[in-house]
């Protein structure tokens, strides 16, 4: 689960990959892993397992094929959004506009399908989403505007644009499109596989590529990165483009899964994405966060809302519960500093 050699190991910076350079350093290697963050790496999977066992024991509906397949679909949207949010958070920023971008994509794909073939419509919807990221990142990197403010602006502007495009809900009846959200390979929904593929790719991107490492380093110390001859503007912009592109993909997935897109859809989704990253150990402002942790955060959040739904707990209580969890996660990590 957290072996040093696993490819999905955290790309985050703290204690992420202690590489011993000689046999003598093995003990210090182990010590630094377990000493600094080891128990927290384990904490989330443990919480997840406890929840899982609790759910399985206490409810006879939880382990039904129907519910599991439902759960696997429910986490996809937040999974994709959290992954994009992680990249932006690692770069030292934040993106509040992802919920609006999901709506843009979810509406746009339907409107476009009236005039162009489905694959083209999907591609255009995702491209439009990517443009939002280009605007976000470009302006943030070029003019040093606070990411919070900039993306708050695009949140409002893009949401407005969605209503301009379609005030009424867009209904999807093309079976080919709807099958994206419903098709399964074996017992696993395709969209869940898509999400997992995104996590694996992102892990590779953040761990092994120069833009990935650069984005993480920018979040740690932008000036040092600039003085090392790396193009900070380009890489910062890239982070926002990745985030918005993933939000665009999430919009298409959402539309095909639900079959109808309100212009008000996905409002507040950015907060769930930030929550998953933070629960998974990301540090707002940069300097920490991992793909693995974010994945765990997504799973835990998804499981909790699935459970609470099963027990018919009102949505308001769910919100309270989630809020408490976020604060607890941050408090637990505060101690290690």
């Amino acid at each position: 689960m957290s072996g040093p050699g696993s490819t999905a190991s955290s790309p985050g910076m703290r204690g992420s990959e202690d590489l011993p350079t000689g046999p003598a350093s093995l003990s210090s290697h182990l010590k630094s892993r377990l000493g600094s963050r080891g128990w927290l790496d384990l904490a989330l999977p443990v919480v997840f397992l406890v929840l899982l066992v609790f759910a399985a024991v206490s409810s006879d509906t939880f382990l039904t094929e129907n519910n599991i397949s439902n759960l696997l679909r429910q986490i996809v949207i937040n999974g994709l959004l959290s992954l994009g949010m992680l990249v932006v958070i690692l770069s030292g920023g934040i993106d509040l506009s992802v919920g609006a971008v999901v709506a843009l994509s979810a509406i746009l794909v339907g409107v476009l399908m009236e005039s162009v073939p489905m694959p083209v419509a999907i591609l255009l919807a995702i491209s439009a989403s990517a443009v939002v990221g280009l605007v976000n990142g470009g302006i943030i990197a070029r003019f040093k505007i606070a990411p919070f403010i900039m993306t708050l602006g695009t949140l409002s502007a893009v949401r407005g644009l969605v209503y301009v495009i379609s005030e009424t809900p867009v209904v999807y009846d093309d079976p080919a499109f709807l099958s994206i959200g419903s098709a399964e390979i074996g017992p696993v929904p395709i969209i869940t596989l898509l999400m997992i593929a995104a996590f694996v790719l992102m892990s590779f991107f953040l761990n092994r590529t120069t833009p990935g490492r650069a984005i993480i380093a920018i979040g740690g110390n932008e000036e040092a990165v600039r003085l090392a001859g790396i193009n900070v503007r380009l890489n910062t912009t890239l982070a926002y483009v990745i985030c918005s592109t993933l939000a665009g993909i999430a919009g298409v997935v959402l539309a095909s899964r639900v079959g109808i897109s309100q212009p008000s859809v996905a409002a507040g989704y950015e907060l769930d994405a930030i929550a998953a990253c933070v629960i998974g150990g990301a540090i707002l402002g940069g300097g920490g966060g991992s793909v693995r942790g974010t994945f765990a955060g997504v799973l835990v959040l998804g499981l909790i809302s699935n459970l609470l739904n099963m027990y018919n707990v009102q949505a308001y209580y769910q919100q309270i519960f989630k809020g408490v969890l976020i604060v607890l996660a941050v408090l637990a990590r505060r101690k290690e500093r």
Partner: protein, 501 residues
């Protein structure tokens, strides 16, 4: 003298991260004593002073003032207990007048809330006159004063009321010789009245003249306390650096010099019409007081700051970098003056930091070649003896000296033809310094052109082939290493006598 010492500090320890800034330090000063605190940059002088003045709490240790336990909760608290500090960075409010600054928090009033300005200015003038600082108009805003006048206002402010201890942190840096004499007279009078002065300085001549006793710190530990009258310059140096001076700076091969980088009338924010030539295999020192424009000039050469006019050429070709990336492509690299700000990504690993400037060479189509990346980094970890030798360790966890080695390693992996070094040994221990000096000498021997910026006079004299001195953004003089003395460089840098070489 009373029986209890004025200041008694025992077992004082202070850690920043993994590094000890102070380790079990003892410091005792009597009333009616001028006690100098000496040591190299990073020896812990400033930290000890900050603990004493309440700016930072110690992690361990006890303090007594006149035999009474002393736990300052803040600089303000320390002030109230009669402990005053004059720091290198000024604590005056620039927008307020001299009088307001001197009487801050105790302005005389006519009625509650109504300031009695006439009395305020009279009192302020009296305070200044009592110290012999008559020439300062108390109506002037502090930001309209020169640095040395500000320093005097600062000192006058510290001496107001009846302080028991006055701490001066490198007070001479901005003072002329005449002003320094004035200050010494003030300090002697204060000592006469039973006051205690803690005088922090790295300038030997000054300390030998003014102090009664000297405590030397090195690497955060106390080396010893000596009677000034009983100690010589050589002995003090040995105490500060732990070895005779001539073993610190490495011998150089000095290959023949051919011109590599030239600046012609280069101007930009902070520097004006600078002409400078840098040859292969040469270490050129760039000295100047704070604000002389050295760092600004260096950043412009590295493409990190703009130019307004002038031109540069590199190896005969026009050279005009618009970004650090441009400069690096041309073979010009810079190690920045503050490693925390310019050099390191603190939460990132040693591996990432070492290879940060070389991502291009260590990747193919944007994908890092892991093996080559690790080999390059391991090479530096071994070569520079970075401890602990763990590539995945975050640099935040390393000591200051090892952090600085990581910054060096980053530029060694990248490789360059011109290497600018801005304060390359700031805040590192002596052993690491010696190592860094050896690296610099090796680089020069391999034909690199080195521009060495340093405020550490022995260092810049010991390492450079020639030294260029800047003042107010202009080149004020050039001195061959063989003729350089601390006094001569300071004279040119401060422009006191105006004897540009």
């Amino acid at each position: 003298m009373s029986d209890a010492p004025r200041i008694r500090m025992e077992g004082i320890s202070k850690r920043y991260g993994a590094a000890f800034a102070l380790r079990d330090v003892e410091f005792v000063a009597m009333s009616g004593e001028i006690h100098a605190l000496m040591g190299e940059n990073g020896a812990g002088k400033s930290t000890l002073v900050r603990v004493l003045s309440g700016a930072v709490p110690a992690d361990a240790g006890v303090m007594q003032i006149d035999g009474v336990a002393y736990h300052p909760r803040s600089p303000h608290d320390a002030r109230d207990q009669g402990i005053r500090a004059v720091h290198q960075e000024f604590s005056l409010v620039p927008q307020l007048s001299v009088a307001e600054n001197l009487l801050l928090g105790e302005l005389p009033t006519l009625a509650p809330g109504i300031v009695d300005w006439a009395t305020a200015h009279r009192e302020a003038s009296q305070s200044l006159a009592a110290l012999g600082f008559e020439g300062i108009d108390t109506h002037l805003r502090v930001d309209h004063l020169g640095v040395s006048q500000r320093q005097m206002v600062e000192i006058a402010k510290a001496l107001r009321g009846t302080p028991r201890v006055v701490i001066l942190d490198e007070p001479s840096a901005v003072l002329s010789n005449k002003e320094l004499e004035r200050l010494f007279a003030v300090l002697r009078a204060f000592r006469q009245d039973g006051g205690t002065v803690v005088y922090v300085s790295h300038r030997l001549d000054e300390v030998l003249r003014i102090s009664d006793r000297i405590t030397v710190l090195k690497d955060g530990e106390r080396v010893g306390t000596v009677e000034t009258a009983a100690v010589g310059e050589q002995e003090l140096i040995r105490m500060m650096v732990g070895r005779p001076l001539n073993e610190i700076y490495p011998a150089r091969r000095r290959p023949p010099v051919s011109e590599l980088l030239t600046l012609h009338g280069l101007s930009g924010p902070g520097f004006h019409e600078v002409d400078l030539a840098l040859g292969t295999g040469e270490v050129v020192g760039l000295f100047g007081l704070v604000g002389a424009g050295r760092t600004e000039l260096a950043r412009a050469i590295f493409g990190a700051a703009g130019l307004s006019s002038g031109r540069m050429s590199l190896d005969g070709q026009p050279y005009r970098p618009r970004s650090p990336a441009d400069a690096l492509r041309a073979g010009v690299a810079m190690l920045g003056e503050e490693r925390g700000r310019d050099g390191l990504v603190m939460p990132a690993s040693v591996l990432d930091n070492l290879t940060l400037a070389s991502f291009g060479q260590l990747s193919r189509f944007g994908v890092l070649r892991r093996r080559e990346q690790k080999e390059a980094a391991s090479g530096q970890v071994e070569g520079l003896d970075i401890r602990p030798p763990v590539l995945g360790r975050t640099v935040r966890m390393l000591s200051g000296g090892n952090q600085q080695k990581v910054v060096f390693g980053k530029w060694l992996i990248r490789g360059a033809r011109v290497q600018i070094l801005d304060e390359p040994t700031r805040g590192v221990d002596v052993a690491t310094k010696v190592q860094i000096y050896q690296i610099i000498a090796d680089l020069a021997d391999h034909g690199l052109a080195i521009l060495l910026i340093s405020s550490d006079l022995p260092e810049i004299i010991g390492m450079s082939d020639r030294i260029i001195v800047m003042r107010h953004g202009r080149v004020a003089g050039e001195v061959p290493a063989s003729e350089a003395t601390e006094e001569r460089l300071l004279t040119i840098a401060s422009g006191v006598v105006g004897m540009a070489a």
